[in-house]
Symmetry: C2
Subunit: 326 residues, 2 copies
Amino acid sequence: MRSLFMAASAALALALPAYAQEEPKGAPAPSEIVAAAPKTDWVAIPAEDLLVMTLAPDAQGKPRQVVIQLMPAPFSQGWVHNIRLFARAGWYDGISVNRVQDNYVTQWGDPNYDNPEATGKPKPLPEGLRVMTEADYSAPTSLITSHERPARNGMQTHRPRGDAYAEFTGFVGGWPVARDHQRDWPTHCYGMVGVGRNYSPDTGSGAELYTVIGHAPRHLDRNIALVGRVIEGMEHLSSLPRGSGALGFYTAEEAGKRTPILSVRVASDLAPAEQPAFEYLSTEGDTFATYSEAIANRRDPFFIAPAGGADICNIRVPVRRVADAG
Amino acid sequence: MRSLFMAASAALALALPAYAQEEPKGAPAPSEIVAAAPKTDWVAIPAEDLLVMTLAPDAQGKPRQVVIQLMPAPFSQGWVHNIRLFARAGWYDGISVNRVQDNYVTQWGDPNYDNPEATGKPKPLPEGLRVMTEADYSAPTSLITSHERPARNGMQTHRPRGDAYAEFTGFVGGWPVARDHQRDWPTHCYGMVGVGRNYSPDTGSGAELYTVIGHAPRHLDRNIALVGRVIEGMEHLSSLPRGSGALGFYTAEEAGKRTPILSVRVASDLAPAEQPAFEYLSTEGDTFATYSEAIANRRDPFFIAPAGGADICNIRVPVRRVADAG
């Protein structure tokens, strides 16, 4: 029979454990808590906040689509404005993935700008881009920290032991957030999308974007703007061949490995029938409180030693595609 | 010109920043601190602790080799004994990568055992395997925590804010370790290698191994044995196509995606000229103290807001190949 290490990962992956009938009885896994959430705990994501990025088909000719959820107020709205502007101007069409650095980031943009081997002329930027400041990397919010949440069965067993990067961590409107000195900022978790920039005071325009494909590089928090997260098709960005050039850029010899980005569209601009629809599990609801506490104290059958805590980036906010979209 | 987000990643990647001449003057990046380490700060890794895993060549016919450093005492030595035994019996030769789950693990073993679609007969296990207990998941050590280390310039700016999974974190003999109640255990950081198991009290034999390819699943600490880490060729495991079956297993239709493992050898069993040689930066030395403090308080030019702390899994112990090996 197979290793039941599978059972543990099933929960983390928010998939129902395979062969559940083989498992000893135990507390529900986080994935099962989410599966049992009432419809009222799910929040629709506005189509205006969804970016549909179409990559060139893979080597077998299979289509590759990535869906990115843009970050809501109060965070990064100037950059989000720019990203919608780039998408609506068709500026992203024809750019490529130029850098894939293992355990760090996959980065895409204009290969004649975002590329040490660039020889051609960069694309001119569209009019109307906003210029943001370092102050915009954080904002005050109504952060809900894990220890403020009601614990499961009324029992508070999730000891908020702290975070290496902030005084508090928690969630705001479905996003992982950290806090110091009453300023809050989104955290660089796996799959989060950020904005490449030059040296300070430059804060980046949104022309060049990256997503985290490894352990959360939290030292980038408050140093680079985060503007969203990949909610579908992450594997199309995380499993790309790593670049052998400095910092994971593809060298001139590897130019053929650059994945072309055919188009990037704001979902609300697509025909209704083509608009994907997604919803996230409210981070203010009881289900999320139970879910996050269960992640911090795994009691499902595979586990021996519950951790008694969880890293903000391991409490992944459940996001699902709404079947009857369009 | 390129985005200098590259400069930030250069340091994290322990590569010298590209185009350093373009950068403003600033404090050295962690990578530069490591590059300047005296030879005496580097510790040779015994060939007996190195596993050389040869995968089938890639689609372009390029060879793929992965080097794994086995964990030294006091951790997991029974499983490490088994892994050397499996390797020396040739048991691993001809197994395959059967599971790749995004942001979680790449897992390899006998496809007739470690695979929900298995139809064939599992390989018989070799004689002499040790059976370990849950108590072996941790051990007391002389953990050196970050706040015990001398700070750079005599100034202690690295506030050890804590960890969501343990009372303390630190390093023991070149490995990331966590502590609770005077028991210490290695941590599930990116690239660490662990042992698949069935339900407790089974602790796994070492026949089935996995490596972490995403954000550190620290909830697995003390629930599964960690036996080593990938020190070269990680990209050959992290960039594999994700499986579309439950938990990232390749389905029957995807059987062709399973990467064959041609052989796994203990380096000390290879001819001297074929033995790879590696060394790690001593985690007890001054350079490592300066390096880890610099990671917690990035002062190199790209950074605006030093974090004031660092996650144990973001303080990656530098390991390098010794050029004049054999």
